[in-house]
């Protein structure tokens, strides 16, 4: 269906279209600002994530080495039995947080098990390190969820901006130009008619 169907080439309609396009263009500018902020937020998040993930991987490697040693010395069934002596693990709660209108889950640790002194010494060090890393892993998971949702929102905002810039605003401009052209045409016709009639009246008077 043509954007020009249903268009009334009147001055009132032209003024309304101009008001609308001005509003839409302002809205598009705000969305571009939001897009730029989200893009900056995402690129900073990705840098941080890369760094944190690398650090956590290093520490997990250290923990894994200690656990491998424990398995070599104690045997798999003893290690599993030792792990059984820990009464409970982590209890967490998730709460919503928001950045630039984007909601993401924030994790709060409610309780953690006390493991110091409860495991065989060969496992104790690995277990303590692991408990420290858990906090970092939770923060990383929170950050990843945030980055994912920011990226999602960035995509949506970008699509909106593109739709506005490439489809909506041009179609409004097209309508406005059509009305302006029509009004100009009518104005010119009116002018020519007036001149013709004026000329005819002047000739009759002579």
């Amino acid at each position: 269906m043509s954007v020009l169907s249903g268009v009334r080439p009147t001055k009132g309609y032209l003024l309304e279209m101009q008001k609308r396009i001005s509003f839409i263009e302002r809205g598009c500018e705000f969305l571009k600002l939001k897009r730029d902020h989200l893009a900056k937020e995402l690129s900073v998040s990705l840098e941080v994530l890369r760094g944190r993930r690398a650090k956590i991987n290093e520490r997990l490697k250290e923990v894994y080495e200690d656990i491998v040693t424990a398995y070599l010395v104690l045997g798999p069934s003893e290690v599993r039995s030792q792990a059984n002596s820990i009464r409970k693990t982590f209890e967490i709660d998730t709460l919503p947080k928001s950045v630039m209108g984007v909601r993401y889950p924030s994790i709060r640790v409610i309780s953690r098990s006390k493991i110091q002194g409860k495991l065989d010494p060969t496992l104790s060090k690995a277990a303590s390190l692991m408990m420290e890393i858990f906090d970092d892993i939770l923060r990383l998971a929170e950050f990843e969820a945030r980055a994912e949702r920011v990226a999602d929102e960035l995509g949506k905002t970008n699509r909106k901006v593109n739709a506005l810039e490439n489809v909506v605003i041009p179609s409004y401009r097209q309508v406005i130009k059509f009305i302006q052209d029509k009004l100009d045409e009518e104005g010119l016709e009116e002018l020519v008619r007036t001149k013709l009639i004026g000329g005819a009246i002047a000739r009759r008077r002579e």
Partner: protein
């Protein structure tokens, strides 16, 4: 029977295999071929652990069956009670963390009851009082105070320490069954082991902020050094000073503690026990020393094979396996 044990060179060769498949291939060329008779194709490290444990138990039962009564009683206390205590520790860990009964049962080594009631009966005990009641007429009855301490402080280590002492006392009680010339060496073997285990428990509790039971309640005595050292270690005395003050063989066994390598302490302990058990054969390679050396070698072989199998399944490099196993170090 000694001929069926793997020589240190064979153990080293197993540790040098590329992966679990090659390990199984090498193992099939040893006497373990018969032990694994029913297994075909790929066998997991967990299944291999069970096979190695069963092999050790069969060898132990065979020796106990053919020994004279007194010696048999000693061997049952020395080995069967040690295995039973291990099972008891695993059982208590499972009960402590309220694991499902099936998972507790799976973690136990399949053993006939030796000194305690059967673990099936223990599994049925619902409350701590029922558990204490089930152990009442067994040598583990003194665990009652430790179980109460453990419950109060939310940790099992008072029970584990008490079990270590009960084991030493039980072995000391049957030393009269073995030749007098061997009693001193065997006594030192169990005492060194109990002392090192208790020292590791004490080191583990250094710097713990929560209220602990008084050390003298949990570690009433030490066999090779002054028991005050254990309390000093818990309270934060410098480890290098504390371990140096213990004297041989503790100082050498515990040296890796200064680098936080507790696993190597255990390996050092196993090597020490292995060497002590072998030392008796210099004097007498036929009777009691030979039996103890053989059974200790079986136990060490079992531990090393479990470690190697697991290491191969996980791609652990041979150097690491050598560090934490016993027999490969004695290979030429």
């Amino acid at each position: 029977m000694r001929a069926r044990l793997l020589a240190p060179g064979a153990m080293k060769a197993l540790a040098l295999t590329k992966d679990l498949e090659e390990f199984l291939e090498h193992l099939s060329k040893t006497p373990y071929r018969e032990e694994m008779g029913g297994e075909r194709g790929f066998v997991s490290a967990a299944r291999l652990e069970a096979i190695f444990n069963q092999t050790f138990l069969r060898r132990l039962e065979r020796i106990i069956r053919v020994c004279p009564e007194g010696l048999s009683e000693f061997l049952q206390t020395y080995y069967c009670m040690r295995l039973e205590i291990n099972n008891l520790k695993r059982f208590l860990r499972g009960r402590f963390s309220k694991l499902p009964l099936e998972r507790i049962r799976e973690s136990l080594t399949p053993l006939e009851p030796y000194k305690s009631v059967s673990f099936e009966e223990l599994l049925m005990a619902e409350a701590l009082e029922d558990l204490i009641g089930s152990l009442r007429d067994t040598p583990y009855a003194p665990l009652k105070e430790s179980l109460v301490l453990s419950d109060r402080h939310d940790t099992l280590w008072p029970v584990e320490a008490r079990l270590n002492y009960l084991y030493v006392e039980a072995v000391q009680g049957v030393l009269s069954k073995i030749p007098p010339i061997d009693r001193g060496r065997v006594r030192r073997m169990v005492e060194v082991e109990a002392d090192v285990e208790n020292l590791l428990l004490a080191i583990n509790w250094r710097g713990v902020k929560e209220a602990l039971p008084p050390p003298e309640n949990v570690f009433p005595h030490a066999y090779g050094f002054s028991p005050e050292v254990i309390g000093e270690i818990i309270e934060g005395r410098r480890l290098d000073e504390a371990t140096a003050s213990l004297g041989p063989p503790y100082t050498e066994i515990l040296r890796p503690v200064l680098e936080d390598d507790f696993a190597l302490v255990r390996t050092n302990l196993r090597r020490h026990i292995y060497e002590m058990s072998g030392a008796g054969r210099v004097r007498d390679d036929f009777s009691f020393p030979c039996i103890v050396s053989y059974l200790t070698s079986c136990d060490v072989e079992r531990g090393d094979l479990v470690a190697i199998a697991w290491g191969k399944e996980r791609g652990v490099e041979p150097g690491r396996i050598f560090t934490y196993s016993v027999l490969p170090a004695y290979a030429p």
